[in-house]
């Protein structure tokens, strides 16, 4: 149980900093967060299942110029906060559906927090412009980073609240089979990726991929 609390309270909001505040190593992507949460909660397979459920949905989104987008990082923080809470409560009914609802709201909350913090950072910029000493500039940076860290807590709190609501009420919803949820994510990912990958222009590679998929399916069907 202690591991769950450390995960929700410290590690998940810290991973959110990776979105663009600290390093951008890809740690906040759902599949990586799934791996880390799985190692923490001891349910690696299920966490990775949630990771691959979330990943394709926002895979096509990227910040062009100074745009703020609804992306996977806020979504995965909220979803894995819900998931960790439900695991702590030993609740397994509709766990993926609840986490997906949480992810949706987390994604919107993440974008909103980004937007607000960018306005607040105008103040930090003014302070930095006045300074010439490295350590003073570093301290101002640290203040901004701590605000982002607090933002991570806010998204985590949203995830936990939705997890709790899910625990109390969403359990009565019909259970949607995992494969349908996964196909839904894959379809959203693939369809929205056509703006990045231009499937019509690159039709040879697209047909090769489909052919390989059918080949894998045919081979797996044989005993």
């Amino acid at each position: 149980m202690n591991y769950h609390i450390i995960l929700i309270g410290l590690i998940l909001p810290f991973l959110w900093l990776d979105k663009y505040v600290l390093g951008e190593f890809g740690l906040s992507q759902p599949i990586v967060m799934g791996m880390l949460v799985g190692l923490g909660t001891g349910s690696l397979k299920e966490s990775l299942m949630l990771g691959i459920l979330l990943q394709p949905i926002w895979v096509s989104e990227f910040p062009l110029g100074k745009s703020v987008i609804l992306d996977a990082q806020g979504a995965s923080l909220a979803a894995f906060s819900s998931y960790t809470l439900l695991k702590m409560l030993n609740h397994n009914i509709n766990i993926f559906l609840i986490s997906l609802v949480s992810a949706m709201i987390g994604s919107v909350a993440g974008a909103f927090i980004d937007y607000r913090l960018r306005s607040i950072n105008n103040y930090f910029l003014k302070r930095i412009e006045k300074e010439t000493i490295f350590f003073k500039i570093a301290l101002i940076h640290l203040s901004s980073i701590s605000l982002y860290f607090a933002g991570g807590y806010l998204i985590g709190a949203i995830g936990i609240s939705i997890g709790w609501i899910g625990f109390r009420f969403l359990r009565y919803l019909p259970t949607i089979p995992y494969h349908l949820l996964l196909l839904n994510s894959i379809f959203i990912g693939v369809v929205f990726l056509s703006k990045n990958f231009r499937f019509r222009k690159n039709w040879i590679q697209t047909l090769t991929g489909i052919f390989m998929g059918v080949l894998v399916w045919v081979l797996l069907k044989k005993p």
Binding site: G34, M104, R118, F134, L183, F187, N196, F197
Partner: protein, 219 residues
């Protein structure tokens, strides 16, 4: 400070290039932070006055920081947009989605190795650009050699093909559930309608979840 020492220091400072991203200066505060750690006080003061706004791809910012150590901020201005466009097109739009999609597929067949593979590959390429960009920026200044662009075009070509082929393989996974083809078709058609209507993936997910729940109750 020697170039190697500066390169390592810059690599650490570049981690914070976007940490104080603001509407007015965009990545300016991150750049000033890096420059304050790499240059002497007087030189930093002089450079700071000339930088009004700075925004580029965060991994490419390293090259521009190297260039800025010697070149004037005005001469770097056009390179900023150039590298932003290259970074958006190659890293954000192609490399990252392709690697994520491929890793998702790997997790389906190999488990944890897929996630580890993504971390390793993504960071070797992107943090590599961040690490090596700085000394190259010092060396080539505002005239990067042709090989630079060729390398990025090559990366784009490789990852575009990986991404498209993986997307094709993942798309055909619906073949495993022939008994639910009607439900699957409804989700697919709904997704295409939302994409054509230029709505976001989040909205599409919201509606698709409602449709799926409705189908489970009624169907």
């Amino acid at each position: 400070m020697g170039v190697t020492e500066k390169t390592i220091k810059n690599f650490v400072l570049q981690m914070f290039i976007q940490s104080t991203w603001s509407e007015k200066g965009q990545q300016k505060s991150g750049l000033l932070f890096a420059l304050s750690g790499l240059t002497k006080k007087e030189k930093f003061k002089e450079k700071k006055k000339k930088i009004e706004i700075f925004n580029t791809n965060p991994y490419m910012a390293s090259y521009l920081t190297g260039t800025l150590l010697k070149a004037s901020p005005e001469s770097v201005k056009y390179m900023e947009s150039y590298y932003a466009a290259v970074g958006d097109d190659v890293i954000w739009s192609t490399l990252r989605p392709a690697l994520l999609l491929f890793s998702t597929f790997l997790i389906m067949i190999q488990g944890i190795m897929g996630a580890l593979g993504f971390l390793l590959m993504y960071n070797i390429i992107c943090q590599g650009i961040r690490l090596l960009g700085f000394p190259l920026g010092i060396k080539y200044q505002v005239n990067p050699p042709k090989q630079f662009m060729d390398t990025f075009l090559f990366l784009k070509f490789i990852f575009l093909n990986i991404g498209i082929i993986t997307a094709g393989i993942l798309f055909t996974s619906f073949l495993n559930f022939p008994h639910e083809i009607l439900k699957i078709s409804v989700i697919f058609v709904s997704t295409v309608i939302f994409y054509v209507s230029k709505l976001s993936p989040t909205t599409t997910l919201f509606v698709n979840l409602l449709v799926l729940t409705g189908m489970e109750v009624l169907w």
